[in-house]
């Protein structure tokens, strides 16, 4: 990931801002243990530990795609394009379509990603996306089937990482959800000949399309362990101070679909349970805000002024 150089003093400053006065809470006798510092649940930019930075979401940014979205979370900028193409269903799931993820960490984010430098991070993110969507309820894959064992829709979800400002996984999952919401798949009819050969007819009307239901599409909430506490939506500087993070993928109903620990440090089991509870709480709020924004944008209709990167 894009790295930032921090001195020890800056790291201590960030860690102390985040930590709660643990000694004051734990010591039942009420006397303050010497040497323990009191912190204030205040991060460097003034947020509390469970606050997200301001998020900008815009859909339908690229017109060559079936659906697209751009998400700007602080300094993190993600562009997702979804292309629907016809393919053959997989052998083990003959009456379902499928999703293919590809993440391109472009050199725009940092010169380290030039050439093949961004491939490692890209593969890691793509594999995480495969895992969080690898269950029956996230996306209704049966609606992507055209004729069993022969034709189905394959949705190629391409993620382009343009700027890296910390908390990549969250921003990417929000962008993928917004892009899937925006995806319009043309309606097809299968006509059968007398000889039995099938012909696929695409509807002429460009507005005649099927939409995907994104009610159960999960979003990733990353919790970084800084000192004793964990924070949501860490910036690059905060990620440099944390040794371990937990990625939890949560749906709008609070159901956890995938969980993964990343980082070179270790977590103890109580923190993991605490982090999971936090992620469910934060995830529900995130989903409700995202849904309301997406519906609001949709209600503006086709006359909406598209801003994209020009705004």
């Amino acid at each position: 990931m894009a790295s930032v150089a921090l001195s020890e003093a800056e790291k201590v400053y960030i860690v102390h801002g985040v930590q709660v006065a643990a000694a004051l809470l734990r010591n039942a006798a009420g006397t303050r243990v010497a040497g323990e510092e009191a912190g204030e649940d205040l991060r460097v930019d003034g947020r509390s530990c469970e606050d997200y930075r301001s998020v900008e979401v815009e859909t339908d940014v690229v017109s060559n795609t079936s659906g697209s979205a751009r998400v700007k979370l602080g300094h993190t900028d993600i562009l997702v394009g979804v292309k629907a193409e016809m393919g053959t269903p997989k052998l083990e799931k003959p009456s379902e379509g499928y999703l293919e993820f590809f993440v391109d960490c472009s050199a725009n984010a940092t010169p380290e990603f030039e050439g093949r430098g961004g491939d490692d991070l890209g593969t890691e993110i793509a594999n995480t996306l495969y895992r969080i969507f690898n269950n029956k309820s996230s996306v209704d894959l049966k609606s992507l089937c055209i004729s069993p064992r022969e034709h189905c829709w394959v949705l190629y979800v391409d993620v382009l990482l343009l700027e890296c400002g910390g908390n990549l996984f969250d921003a990417i999952s929000i962008a993928v959800k917004a892009a899937l919401f925006n995806t319009r798949i043309p309606r097809v009819r299968v006509l059968e000949d007398e000889e039995g050969s099938k012909d696929i007819e695409l509807s002429d009307d460009p507005y005649d399309c099927i939409r995907l239901s994104v009610e159960n599409v999960p979003c990733i909430v990353t919790l970084c362990k800084i000192g004793y506490r964990h924070v949501v939506d860490a910036t690059l500087q905060e990620e440099a101070c944390s040794l371990a993070s937990l990625l939890v993928s949560v749906t709008s109903k609070g159901v956890v679909t995938c969980m993964r620990k990343v980082g070179k440090g270790s977590l103890d089991p109580e923190s993991i349970f605490e982090m999971m509870e936090t992620s469910k709480r934060v995830g529900k709020v995130l989903h409700t805000s995202l849904q309301s924004i997406l519906h609001k944008e949709e209600s503006l209709g086709p006359k909406r002024q598209k801003v994209g990167f020009l705004g």
Binding site: A2, V62, S63, N64, T65, S68, H75, D77, L79, G81, V82, K83, E85, F102, D104, S106, A107, N108, A109, P111, E114, G115, R116, Y156, D158, L160, L162, E163, C164, G165, G308, F309, L310
Partner: protein, 249 residues
């Protein structure tokens, strides 16, 4: 594509433009805060982003050939990448294929002619261009976006570098080709120009063109590049005006 009329009898092209007319250009500088310089340009339906890092220490292949730094001037390093969803049919790899490598080399050649590299010896300037949507004229859009990004980074240049494509159909030279016109298979010329002096930084032509017509096509491309220069100049002045208002001057 037989039967598609690229130029109608009244002189209108497929998208309604005249022969020498450019598509609508909108541009913005300073799109990303973390990069040294960045810019975004939309030329019709073609959208390109350019990001500049530098001048910084040249990253060499240590141990193999030593650093790649040049002792008397800066090294210009370009990468051209087009998003997998940028074209009508999905691309498998965004960069690393032959066309992207060739475009990267062409961009490097173009900018080595314009950037005052003698002012930054032993350092490296990285220019990364990303095409978000390709509808013809991608090289021109990339060069225009990269010019704005280099200016945004504050790297001194001899002059703007403005680029445009041109074609030739039925005796008329067309400026700023769209994807439909490029795919029709006629001759295509890509030109990168330094407008103040009229010097050509890059000239590339595909397909066959009779040399009698070359001057006309070249003049159409040069005129279109000068028109692009007027627009880019306006964008830069607007950006500087906004920045100075924010600084309170």
């Amino acid at each position: 594509m037989a039967g598609l009329e690229l130029l109608s009898d009244q002189g209108y092209r497929v998208d309604g433009r005249r022969a020498g007319e450019l598509r609508k250009i909108q541009a913005r500088m300073g799109v990303f805060a973390q990069a040294d310089g960045s810019a975004y340009i939309e030329q019709g339906n073609t959208k390109a982003l350019a990001v500049v890092y530098g001048p910084h220490e040249a990253s060499g292949l240590r141990g193999i050939g030593g650093s790649r730094a040049l002792p008397d001037r800066a090294l210009v390093n370009c990468q051209y990448s087009s998003a997998t969803f940028s074209t009508g049919e999905r691309k498998r790899r965004p960069h690393g294929d032959r066309k992207s490598c060739e475009m990267g080399l062409q961009l490097r050649q173009t900018f080595e002619a314009a950037i005052l590299t003698q002012l930054h010896p032993r350092s490296q300037i990285d220019i990364y261009v990303q095409v978000l949507q390709a509808d013809g004229g991608t090289y021109a859009a990339c060069v225009n976006a990269a010019t704005l990004a280099v200016l945004d980074a504050g790297i001194p240049m001899r002059d703007f570098v403005c680029a445009c494509s041109a074609g030739f159909v039925e005796g008329t030279a067309l400026a700023d080709l769209s994807h439909v016109e490029e795919a029709a298979g006629g001759p295509q010329l890509a030109l990168a120009l330094l407008p103040a002096s009229g010097q050509i930084a890059l000239l590339e032509m595909d397909a066959r063109l009779h040399e009698d017509h070359l001057e006309r096509v070249l003049e159409a491309a040069a005129q279109a590049a000068r028109d692009v220069h007027t627009l880019l100049d306006h964008v830069v002045r607007q950006h500087v005006r906004e920045a100075s208002i924010l600084l309170g001057d």
